[in-house]
Amino acid sequence: MSQTPLAIARGVLAREIGAGARLIRWLEEGDPRGREALAAVYPHTGRAHLIGITGPPGAGKSTLTNALISEQRKRGRRVGVIAVDPSSPFSGGAVLGDRVRMQQHALDEGVFIRSMGTRGQLGGLSRATFDAILVQDAMGYDVVIVETVGVGQDELDIVSLAHSTVIVSVPGLGDEVQAIKAGLLEVGDLFVVNKADRDGSEQILRQLELMLHLREQTRPNQDWTPPLLRTVALKNEGVEALVDALDAHHALLQRTGAFTVRVQERSRHMFLGLLREQSAARIMAEAMADPATAVVILAVDAGTLDPYSAATQLLWRLSLKVG
């Protein structure tokens, strides 16, 4: 496989999984070749139906994703998956096991699954994940599913910028209200109680119903009422109904123009994130090159200057130099 950005971009557009996987790797690692190749394939993005799947550990997200892939394939669609798992904050390493539940699709040319560690990287998880989504989108996957544990701002960004966000819950986690973390109730487009054949599923369904009812009252005149569905992903129960609901949501977004709006929001979000990151890097480099910084750091260490005043003063000095 040739490794020039142009060759990789061509491979991505020719739907070669090897080329797509390499481009995702470049982007994840901050390799400058990645930016060049992404620019070349970017005009071919914006078509895939992006589905976010989130919920607490053990909710069965990977198993549900696996069942969703099967159902989407039955409907003739090509499916990309980005499965995100946490990296160790200590070593930076990770054991990514989501795809264990999805290996039945390993020989299907119409399915491309990529695992991703959160890595705690500069610019956050969201950028690397959005990059990977763009690559699969450019490869012409009709559906791109992003699976994450729904904690942290970055992950909330991802799910909230998906076209359709599925919040997965399960019975038996204890406090059912806690099972849906703050923020998730607001961003969910579809709610699923998985493992619905287990004890306690009636309770969590009732709780969710109540919470969704309250949500509806705070936002009247919505054109979409989030459905509350029950699945047993391992037995493939309720999965057809879930994909029906996803299709209905997709159709609504297309009809109202909201589909394009979410794509625009995502692009803008990425742009602003990059701008923030690159400008911060530039200012930091400048600050570190300025001899005054060492003096200010000493003053902060000694406690003679508070951190707020220190930052303000240094930035003021740098802006004078630029001006």
Binding site: I17, S88, F90, S91, V95, R99
Partner: protein, 144 residues
């Protein structure tokens, strides 16, 4: 060293065929994670082609096969062949587990680059991979 710093060694750990012994592969997975590597696990009962496809989709640097059911001569050469056929012949294929010494040359000939036999300490595997990874990064920096 290359300019960008977010590089991380990616390793695919795989179990082929009907071999369902998972303790060894789990221990290795944790040791590699603690060394800062990104480990992707295929789960059990994989065919060589499934593992090769997964290696391509995940764009890993290393494929490590855990074999404890004496089927290494059956599966590993096939996996090496699939990897080459799918343009992933440059990835490092290694194996570990119950492998008789007399089988090692056969596996090496088939394209398995290193075999860790029973009793190997995890830090030996970590050191081997670290050395290999550093050499790879250095070679890339030279080419760039």
């Amino acid at each position: 060293m290359t300019q960008f710093s977010n590089r991380r060694l990616r390793v695919l750990l795989a179990k082929l065929g009907m071999d369902t012994h998972t303790i060894g592969v789990t221990v290795i997975a944790h040791a590699l994670r603690d060394a800062g590597f990104e480990v992707i696990f295929t789960g059990l009962k994989q065919t060589p082609e499934m593992v090769a496809n997964t290696a391509v989709q995940e764009d890993v640097d290393v494929i490590g096969v855990s074999s404890l059911s004496a089927a290494h001569l059956k599966h590993l050469p096939k996996l090496a062949e699939f990897l080459r056929a799918k343009g992933a012949g440059d990835k490092l294929l290694i194996a570990g587990g119950v492998v008789p010494f007399e089988d090692i040359p056969l596996l090496e000939q088939a394209g398995v680059r290193k075999i860790f036999t029973m009793g190997t300490e995890t830090r030996v595997i970590v050191e081997y991979l670290k050395t290999w990874w550093e050499a790879k990064l250095a070679a890339e920096a030279r080419d760039a």
